[in-house]
């Protein structure tokens, strides 16, 4: 790294990470072990235990993080021919495993947050800085820095590309690392002929489906235990298992793209693109909002019977109508009558008033 340019600080490390799309930053000495393991299903030897990013499984994350259909969904997956994979992070995702997440204190941990990059004095972050290509030494055998829209930056020891599944291979190709014929076609000078660059995308499709359960206490609803702050919903995705099933290698074509030959496209590659299956206990994902959570109507008296506690109807209506499920608010105005209180003017959707019974209760009077 050139210490004189003022944009990237000099520091003792010789490792840098470049993010070529919107910004890049250099990172303080990388931890040799990135993950903290605190789950029996995770292989500590594989992930390490001393890094700042913690990963944890559902059961180990909180003693009360339990979901009511754990056994049932496990049996369902087994019946589908999906076997238990004790550690989904061991190298193969095939089968079903307990979900392991990198959440901490109720939030996901992006690497930049976990490594406290923003607080790190020896790191400079450049935003809106496009990385054009990796720079190599004269022998084309060693990366020495990157060319960016803000100029060239040089690393004294290592250059690390960290640009995501799509952009990292793109940057390698733009830098001359990839299939020689593809690069020649695009007029990019060849640095290294590596035909597989950009051809091994691993992807996992997810299609959300929704069920409303007969026993509503088994999902998140408005019952007293169904608060979003409960451990079931606060510590991560509310689900037990995550399963991966390989999709059958059905030949797909893209005639709309002008393909003449029906072929298996690598985006549906059976080994690399499994379908991801999990059961979440809340509606989530695109389209979920049209599936209302339980509690489609909130009803209340204005004055509670018989303790006459005055309910804050304006506040209740405000909260109800701010919620995504937008429940109707029904107000029983019997105790105050329309003379003293107008529920519709205070935000209620429906008003009811009870017909009063004749004032007789002779039987009880005799008992007294």
């Amino acid at each position: 790294m050139s210490p004189g340019d003022g944009k990237v600080c000099s520091h003792t490390s010789s490792r840098f990470v470049f993010l070529p799309t919107q910004f890049f930053f250099c990172l303080f000495p990388l931890q040799t072990e990135t993950f903290i393991s605190c789950n029996e299903t995770v292989n500590p030897a594989l992930l390490g235990t001393s890094g700042p990013i913690s990963t944890v499984g559902i059961k180990a994350s909180h003693v009360n993080r339990q979901y009511p259909l754990r056994k049932e969904t496990s049996a369902l997956l087994e019946n589908m021919g999906c076997a238990l994979n004790p550690d989904g992070n061991s190298g193969s995702v095939k089968g079903y495993s307990e979900l392991v997440e990198n959440w901490k204190n109720g939030a996901r941990q992006p690497a930049s947050v976990a490594y406290e990059v923003a607080q790190c004095k020896n790191v400079t972050i450049l935003t809106s800085t496009l990385v054009h290509k990796i720079l190599f030494d004269t022998s084309n055998t060693k990366a020495i820095g990157v060319q960016t829209s803000a100029g060239a930056f040089y690393a004294s020891k290592e250059t690390i590309i960290c640009a995501g599944a799509y952009r990292s291979p793109q940057l390698l190709l733009l830098s001359g690392i990839g299939s020689a014929s593809t690069l020649a076609q695009r007029g990019i000078p060849l640095v290294l002929d590596l035909p597989d660059v950009g051809k091994n995308l691993h992807d996992h499709m997810a299609v959300p489906l929704y069920w409303k359960l007969k026993e509503q206490g088994n999902a998140m609803d408005v019952n007293p235990g169904g608060k979003l702050s409960a451990p079931q919903f606060y510590f991560g995705l509310p689900c037990d298992w995550i399963a991966f099933e390989h999709i059958p290698a059905v030949p797909t074509t893209a005639k709309s793209e002008g393909a003449d030959v029906v072929s298996v496209r690598h985006l549906s590659h059976p080994e690399r693109c499994p379908a991801e299956i999990f059961f979440a206990y809340v509606p989530a994902g695109p389209g979920s909002m049209k599936y209302k959570q339980d509690g489609q109507m909130i009803s209340s008296m204005v004055l509670a019977n018989p303790t006459l506690w005055l309910i804050d109807i304006p506040l209740m209506a405000h909260i109800a109508h701010s919620h995504p499920s937008n429940p109707l608010v029904l107000v029983d105005n019997t105790f105050l009558s329309p003379y003293y209180f107008s529920p519709l003017l205070q935000g209620a959707d429906i008003v009811m008033g009870a017909t009063i019974l004749p004032a007789h209760h002779a039987a009880y009077a005799k008992k007294l």
């Binding site: 303790t307 105050l336 003379y339 003293y340």
Partner: protein
């Protein structure tokens, strides 16, 4: 509806001043924790009326309501009695023992044994429905008569202890 409210306010004040009462619940009383909400959320026509009237003086202790001592707010009043609720309910002459409410005649009931008798005892305890809680539905009779009836019944309930 105006008479229900003004009478209920008189009753609530009388109960508040009685040594035989633990607690009065009437959001129209200035001492009620949600009195401000009650006033702020009044219907527009009720607010216009309440702002225009001198709040009637308490006929018993002569205090001037003047707005600072509460507002008419419907005819329902609940309170917790120190003495025997059964004796109180037997002693009233104008308040009829009945589960109903909202009519022109004044009614009284014991929720723990009547309207809410089917609620399990533990739930009643959680809801604050004790054996001492009496619910009144104040009618449109002469307010002074109603206050005297309540006070006489309170005395009777206290004397029976």
């Amino acid at each position: 509806m105006k008479a229900h409210g003004t009478n209920a306010l008189l009753i609530a004040r009388a109960l508040e001043n009685s040594p035989h009462v633990k607690e009065v619940i009437y959001p129209g009383l200035a001492s009620h924790p949600r009195h401000a909400l009650a006033y702020a959320s009044l219907s527009p026509h009720a607010k216009k009326w309440i702002d225009s009237i001198p709040i009637p003086k308490d006929p018993i202790d002569g205090r001037n309501g003047g707005g600072g001592d509460g507002i008419p707010y419907g005819g329902m009043v609940s309170f917790r009695i120190k003495g025997s609720a059964h004796k109180f309910l037997s002693a009233t002459r104008l308040f009829t023992l009945a589960e109903s409410l909202g009519g022109v005649e004044s009614l009284a009931e014991l929720p723990s044994e009547m309207t809410h008798g089917s609620v399990p005892e533990e739930e009643r305890a959680l809801l604050g429905i004790g054996d001492d809680l009496i619910r009144l539905s104040v009618g449109v009779e002469e307010g002074e008569d109603l206050v005297m009836d309540i006070e006489a019944a309170l005395d009777a309930a206290a004397a029976s202890e």
